[in-house]
Amino acid sequence: MGQKAKRKKRQAKKSGWKLFRIVITGGLVFAAGLVLYCWSLSSQIEKRFSGRRWSIPSKVFSDITVLYPGQTINRELFLSKLYRLGYRKVSHKPKQKGEFCASGSGMALFLHDFEVPSQKQEGFPVQINFSQNFITVIERLNTGEPVPVLELEPEEIMSFFSPEREKRQLVSIKHVPRHLIDAIIAVEDNRFYLHHGFDPEGILRALYTNLRHLALRQGGSTITQQLAKNYFLTPERTLSRKLKELLISIDIEIMYTKNEILEIYLNEIYLGQKGSVSINGVGEASNFYFSKPVSELSLAESALIAGLIRAPNYYSPYGDKKRCQERRNLVLRTMYKQGWISDQELQTASAKPVTVSGFMVYANKAPYFIDYLADQLKAFYPPETLSSLGLSLYTTLDTQVQAAAEKALANGLSRLERSYLRLRRSEPEKRLQGSLIVMQPNTGYILAMVGGRNYNQSQFNRITQSRRQPGSAFKPFVFLGALDSFTPASFLSNAPKSYVVDGKIWEPQNYEPDLEERVTIRKALAKSLNLATVDLAMQVGLDRIVSTAKTFQFSTPVKPYPSLALGACETIPLELARAYCVFAAEGVLPHPLSLKEVVDEKGQVLERRHMTIKRVTSPAKAFIMSSMLRSVVTEGTARSLLDRGVTFPMAGKTGTTNDYKDAWFVGYTPDILALVWVGFDNGDSIHLTGAQAALPIWAELMNAIPEYISGQWFKAPPGVVKRIVCSESGQIAVPDVCPETREEFFLAENAPKDYCSVHPPMNILERIMKEMQDVIN
């Protein structure tokens, strides 16, 4: 070989080595870069998975519903409640939790399990029989054993969502039934336990299946890749994103066990839509589609959920049930082919119809109440906390009462606008407004709150935020202040009178002319006579009235002017309702309670609130006030209640302000109290009294919630005595002499002691003359 050729060979060998070195170096640099990149990805993965993995919205729950034999019930509201609780109607005897079967005279119901901080109850089947609107019997369906008190679980009212608006119930893989895991693995990634993040064999098989059927039957992504995509990546389909997905998947497989990966996946996957809220995770999907915990899912139900993963809204059972069933059965067949289920199981599950529990789209339930609640919580639980920590907030709200209150207010305001043209306004923000609050007077529980006509138009809460003049609704506090020196039988002047206030003459008027110049205290309150009330206030002393108002913890200023007696001061409706609770609760002022417990996602109670009370007046005075306020209903300004079906014993007070700007009615029994306000936000006159505008709304509400009406009345406590008095003198009636008498209650310490001085006892001749006259007449 010549020297030239040798030289050429040496050069070629050198170039080859050089190229080889470049390739190796390049490869090593690339590998190093890849390792560094994977390392940075792994730290991102660890950061994401080690901290809080999801924002779980906090949920607000209503109070438990109590049922008992003998209870009057609004069956329509009760049935609505069952549907909202996720109970589903079946045509057979209920076999599973959450089913019910209704007949004319009764209902068989298989209760859900429920757990609240103070109790845990496992669901069991019951029979509830009705006679018209009474519950006659509640007994265990299987044994016939009577159930004296039945409790239904609290109802979820709303959730505090984060901006992502995802709904999720976290589940541990230990509680996920095996057939659900098998179903998901069978249809999404049947080599899940064999691969290391990505599955080339799976990709090729999916490609072959899809080409063979000319349809997208299988995806090539593993469960790990799906997780990587959902958790870390945006959904665009680019090569770089796909490569990143691959690397993240490999990292995840290195860092976590198969079960850990699966658990995260089961809690992450998107499985449907409820209005604007997405359903994520099998825990929430189980509740959304079947109203049951994931651990109770059957094989067919599990296959249905597994089938949704590919396209939840396309295969949703709330959409096309036939398509959903076909998809479910495909999943079942796939499970069978892969050996997860037997032929028998396949046949049985495939034959089952698709039945779901139904759902209600998130509507704004009790929005004013929720705002009030959130306002109380914000110091300790700001919005970011509420939307991410998955707290459970148990409240005092009764959803049936809330529904009845909203309906009564809406109907009442519409009725007023239809009947009185002058009340109509074209601009929505200027329309006639109203508000309503319902409380249990002894506990202070807020059962319902409606802060306005339409929350979407105005979130201003007219129960907790507005300050309006109570008008005559303030008078009971004037009369209460007088009870040490006056009695219901004491007389007041109802004659026109002038008063000098700050150098100006003030001449109060009655709403309606009343010719009696002298009236009893009971009558003055029953008929809401302004002249007599001011006379009383001036005799008692305005400072005394201010002092009485302070004991009721009104936060708004109360000034000692004569017009105070007529309610010319501002009050917050919630505080007014709370103050009236004193009369219904034996003289005790309750703290208004809306929140009962705050529980974290592990079930630990973070906070409890109980009823708190403070005595502000004696039981005897409270009873006397209730007795007088009962006269408002039987003989006074609220007597139209009787025509509206309110025939049970109750007490109340109408309220009308100057120029008819505010109309009020506050009414109560020993069991329940409700306050209604009607007016315009801008202070325009409604030209209607409390009896005309607010009272009918109160009546409609009470007629809709018979379960709260026991028909009981207050028992006179120690310190109250009853006397028969002369209507003319107010003193003890002389038997057979005083022409007109009545029974009256008194505080024992200031009950009348003397006989009537207007009608003294007759001598024998006078009695003879009287008897002869009676015979002639």
Partner: protein, 141 residues
């Protein structure tokens, strides 16, 4: 009878002086019993009262097991069902005493006394409870 007396009296030759008015009973004696109750048609315990009693019993059992907060919650429900049942307030007072909230214990004890007035057995318990509350209020915190 008065008319007969008149006729007899007229038959006599002299008209006797009219007798003085018959004495009235002392006005301090009540004309009606002091235990004033508005006569309502049915005084038997209604269904709400019966249901409330069930819960009172549950509350009592929870207190015995020292589950104080759970007991309070159940007793509050019992109060909602039947505010007139004094036993609920008695047990609520017990619960608040266990929680060392003397003020609330006093308030509920006071209410128990109001509602259980007339029931000798329970009034003894209420009085004994009042003494325990007073003793607790004096004990160092």
């Amino acid at each position: 009878m008065i008319i007969e007396l008149v006729i007899i009296g007229c038959a006599t030759s002299s008209v006797p002086a009219p007798p003085s008015p018959p004495p009235l009973p002392p006005p301090s004696a009540p004309s009606m019993p002091d235990t004033a109750v508005i006569p309502e048609p049915d005084e038997r315990p209604g269904p709400r009262a019966v249901a409330s009693l069930q819960m009172t019993e549950q509350g009592r059992e929870l207190l015995e097991r020292n589950k104080v907060d759970d007991a309070i919650r159940v007793l509050e429900r019992a109060v909602s069902l039947n505010p007139g049942n004094g036993q609920n307030y008695y047990y609520l007072a017990e619960a608040w005493l266990l929680k060392r909230n003397i003020k609330q214990a006093e308030e509920f004890n006071d209410l128990a006394g109001t509602y259980l007035e007339g029931d000798q057995t329970w009034m003894v318990k209420v009085e004994e409870q009042r003494k325990r509350i007073q003793k607790s209020s004096l004990a160092p915190q």
